[in-house]
Symmetry: C2
Subunit: 201 residues, 2 copies
C-alpha cells in the first residue's frame, strides 16, 4: 500500500478496511508495531510531522530496500497453509446439532455470503472503473502502460472471492435442502436427544 502512497499507520488501517482487508485483514494493534519493526529493518522510512501544536504523526514511505523486499516477496513461491475451517468441520458433524440450529447456521451462512457477494460485485466495479482512491493514486504513480495490469490483477484477485461467495451460497442451499429431506424422512439428530430429559419413562 505504501507503494501507492506514503501515509500514516492510521491511514493504512483505514484503507485496509476498504480494500486489502477483503483478502488480508489486520487490526491496528498489529499494524503500528509492524511499521516500527519494518522501519527498524530499513524497509520503511518515517517522516515525523507536527499535527497541530502538541501532536505528531509518522508518515511512512517505502525505502529502496523495502521495494526490493516487496519484489522478492512477489516472486517467492507460496506454500499452502493447513486447512482449518470451523464451518466445514461443523457441517461434517451436523448430526450432533438440532434441525433448528443447523438451519439457522446455514441460513446465516447464506446471508453472510450474500452480503459478501454484493460487496465484491461493487468492489470489482469500482476497481475496473478506477473509483478506488488508493488505486487511482497508484496508477498516477506508475507508467501508463502498466495501468491495465495493475487494475486487472486487483480485479482478478477479487473475482476469486466473488466466485467463492457464490459457491458458499449454493452450498448452504444444498445443506438446507438436505435438512428438509432428512427431517421429512423422520431422521432424528443427536442434538434433539439432549432436549429429551433423562426423567422420561
Amino acid at each position: 500500500m505504501l507503494t501507492a502512497e506514503s501515509m500514516t499507520g492510521y491511514d493504512l488501517v483505514k484503507y485496509f478496511d476498504g480494500s486489502v482487508a477483503f483478502v488480508w485483514q489486520a487490526p491496528h494493534s498489529q499494524i503500528y508495531p509492524e511499521l516500527r519493526r519494518m522501519e527498524a529493518a530499513g524497509l520503511l522510512e518515517a517522516e515525523v510531522v507536527a499535527r497541530g501544536e502538541r501532536a505528531e504523526k509518522r508518515i511512512y514511505s517505502i525505502s529502496s530496500a523495502g521495494l526490493a523486499e516487496l519484489r522478492s516477496w512477489a516472486t517467492t513461491p507460496l506454500t499452502y497453509p493447513p486447512e482449518r475451517s470451523a464451518h466445514r468441520l461443523r457441517a461434517a458433524f451436523l448430526e450432533w446439532s438440532t434441525y433448528e440450529a443447523a438451519r439457522n447456521q446455514l441460513l446465516e451462512h447464506r446471508n453472510h455470503f450474500t452480503r459478501a457477494l454484493r460487496t465484491w460485485e461493487h468492489m470489482i466495479e469500482d476497481i475496473e472503473a478506477v473509483r478506488v482512491p488508493l488505486l487511482r493514486r497508484r496508477l498516477e504513480r506508475n507508467a501508463e502502460e502498466q495501468a491495465e495490469a495493475i487494475v486487472a490483477f486487483k480485479a482478478f484477485a477479487f473475482r476469486a472471492e466473488l466466485a467463492r461467495a457464490k459457491l458458499e451460497i449454493e452450498w448452504a442451499k444444498e445443506g438446507l435442502a438436505l435438512l428438509d429431506h432428512l427431517e421429512a424422512a423422520g431422521v432424528p439428530l443427536a442434538g434433539e436427544a439432549a432436549a429429551v430429559p433423562t426423567d422420561a419413562p
Copy 2:
C-alpha cells in the same frame, strides 16, 4: 472422533490425517496437550493400558460432560474469521512479480487443487460407500435410522471443498490467460525491472 471410537492420541493423529484433516488440521504437538486439558476438564476419560512390559498408553473416551459440550458446540452459532489469504493477496499485487514467477505461482495453484480435487472425489466416494474405517465404526455405534444423516453430512461438508478445488483450478486458468494477454500486449511487470541494472544508460 472419540464419539466414533475410543482411542489413543496417536490414533487420533493418524485418523486426523485421513479424514478430518481435510477440513481441520492439527499436529500431534497440539493434540497430546489438548487431550490432557480436556481430560482435566472432565470432557474425556483416559484408560491407562500397558503396552508390552515397560510402556503404557492412554485410551481416551468421551465422557457425558464431553458429549454435552459437543452438543453445545454443535448448536452454537459460528462467527466468520477475518479473511487472510496469502494467495489472493499475492494475486492482487502480481504487478510486482515477473511473468515467469507469476506463471509458476498459478501453475502450482492449479496443480495443488487438481491433486486436492482427486483426493476429495475419492474421499466422497469412500464416504458414500462407507469404506472409511472410522465412519463405519461410527455407524455401528449409532441407531440405523441416523446412518443416512451421518453419511450425508460428511459428504456435504466435503462437497464444499470439492467445489472449492474446481473454482481454484478455473481461477488459476483465468490468471494464466490474463498473463498471456498482458505479455502479448507488451505490458511490463515491476518485478522484471529489478532485472534491469541501474548502470543502464
